[in-house]
Symmetry: C2
Subunit: 417 residues, 2 copies
Amino acid sequence: MKAEIISIGTELLVGSILNTNAKFLSETLAENAIDVYRQSTVGDNIDRIVAAFREAAARSDLLITSGGLGPTMDDVTFEALSKFISKPLALHRPTYRAIVSRLKRHGFQMTKLITKQCYVPQSVKVFQNDHGTAPGVYCETFYQDRKVQVMVLPGPPREMEPLFTNQALPYFKKKIGLSGAKFLIRSVKLTDVTEVQVAQKVPDLLRLKPPATVGIYAKPDEVELKIMVKDNSKKQACRRADRIEKTIRTRFREKVATIDNETLSSVIGQILRKNKETLALAESCTGGLLSYLVTQTPGSSDYYLGGVVSYHDRIKILELGIPSDQIKRHGAVSRVVAKKMAVNIKSKFRADYGIGITGIAGPSGGRAKKPVGLVFVGVASKQKVFCKKMRFFGNRKEIQSHAAHRALDLLRLELLK
Amino acid sequence: MKAEIISIGTELLVGSILNTNAKFLSETLAENAIDVYRQSTVGDNIDRIVAAFREAAARSDLLITSGGLGPTMDDVTFEALSKFISKPLALHRPTYRAIVSRLKRHGFQMTKLITKQCYVPQSVKVFQNDHGTAPGVYCETFYQDRKVQVMVLPGPPREMEPLFTNQALPYFKKKIGLSGAKFLIRSVKLTDVTEVQVAQKVPDLLRLKPPATVGIYAKPDEVELKIMVKDNSKKQACRRADRIEKTIRTRFREKVATIDNETLSSVIGQILRKNKETLALAESCTGGLLSYLVTQTPGSSDYYLGGVVSYHDRIKILELGIPSDQIKRHGAVSRVVAKKMAVNIKSKFRADYGIGITGIAGPSGGRAKKPVGLVFVGVASKQKVFCKKMRFFGNRKEIQSHAAHRALDLLRLELLK
């Protein structure tokens, strides 16, 4: 089973938006053991879309498009599909009725432009879009005497993702009678190591051949080892991945930070919740990012009390109780201040752990002795307080992100002790 | 001049990473009046890469690839290029020497794998990679009697972006003698309106034909009108875009929030800095995101004092002075509390403006009367305080993001008064 993804939209070709749909579809197909052979992006133009359909149909069995189903005149994907499968467009009444009643519930009326979205090629399978107006469709056709499946999905990720996952993909798998063959992907993320250091410690794993392989990917704040196992039995695949994961854990121990969808924030949350402990944060250069990362984990209110963003030195003095003479003597970006921030936010908020971050995110404000990218992270626990001096590279946003992630990782390591 | 982008890498086809390179290249080409006709993604496989070269060469004049130049055996882009242009690979000595001396400076030695990266097809133009080892190359070839330009770039964005912008693109433009034709793109973003409302107010602009067109795009927190003007004179193009922008401003007034790379955060920053006024924030459900967005603007320390993330009710009471009986009576998510948060953070931090946000980000914690997505934003200025009740849809992250952006927009509108 070879699949191709065709992303439709001139905004992609002029680089206005990132193609997150191709990533999402590819990832979901990979997990379902469907190989993606090619991804293409074409503009909103009937002939070009039809040409893309034909090229892909000559190579692959399943074509999945996203985009070009909107209400405006430049959205022509259904017209292109109609041409490719030689079926005229017709008003799909169930879709029309569903949209009218949904609009009514929200106090809106049907418009001519939205009605246009209800015209789909005759005799295709239609999937209602629960998060927007344009429906998704599925059909089978013949091209050069080969049977080809076509799935047409809306462009906005909020609409496309649930429609594909909950409706189109299950329908397709049932229709095609796809075997239970599963492609299990497990992502093991390591922190505080370089790609080369990781590669040198697992040369045997990187040389594994299908059905079980391990890939290595360097990411901004971590190195990912991706375990990929293909097997007819999910249980077997899991067992095999477990064994490989165990090998990685034995070699890297606490440097294994997260598995799959875990984040540093969710891992910290699990430990804090289990220990019934609480956390408070004092941030300067990260400006609230650290706090935001912690609160991205649902249920973080169980252990996260809150924080202070002390952007101005006055707030460091008044709210965090940093003596002004210490700021004068050591500078706001210093080991002394980072430690004091961590200790004082901990006691002020009556938390079990406190973190303080101060640094120079840039682009200006750097000096020879204290360059852009210099960051101090203080961590205070019940027994002690310590501080790490770090130096990051990149733009302002990257430095803020690196600093926040490293701070979370320092806390994680402390919690594991 | 028609260009195509070929992204190379199996990690893209299995959805491990987002294709930011295609966006970056497309955007940069658009700004240089080079049309991107197609984007494709293929795996790390010589024959498939050559096939992609051939298909693209049959349609377009310039092919740009990124990826597949790494040190490991699965990186085969140079081999594919060698096959496509029928020139054998040969060691490129200047690249080799440059890498050896750079590695030496960092205390590393040349390895066999890195040496592999120095083999490029004979007689191509080579661009040194200042941020990595694999060089970029440019060459011209004939395919089906048509002259085709090929540019091969490394995959990591940190390496590819400067190499393309500073070396490959200028070299290409000079070589080809590209006319000064400029494609001016101006993005006008509107807040607090729907795509349909915008479309209904500018049907004339949406019908414009080249050389000046206007496109409409719905984004999560705004609607974008993109003005695109092609002209030989940059000044003329600017003047034309100015006229269209003026029309949009006349019709939407203060709903025009940002132009081009401006963000709500940078627009607010400009006004606050001009007025020499300051801002303080009190957040609950956004968990620090609002503060982080404000501090993403370089120089925000000029007007942003800081904030309190009062995630636990105890912090709302102790740090923000919300009377506990008010929380009991109205709930932490209420108009009363949002207003009080705004007023109290303003006076506590001695700022000119204060914002308070409280809401239910979900996924749990919602009730019939106070559902997930309910958010109150309070804004306090010198003269007054007001509160907006809002309801957002989506997952936790989306609700946090919507709330933070709407809060920034409310402040923007208040600052404009």
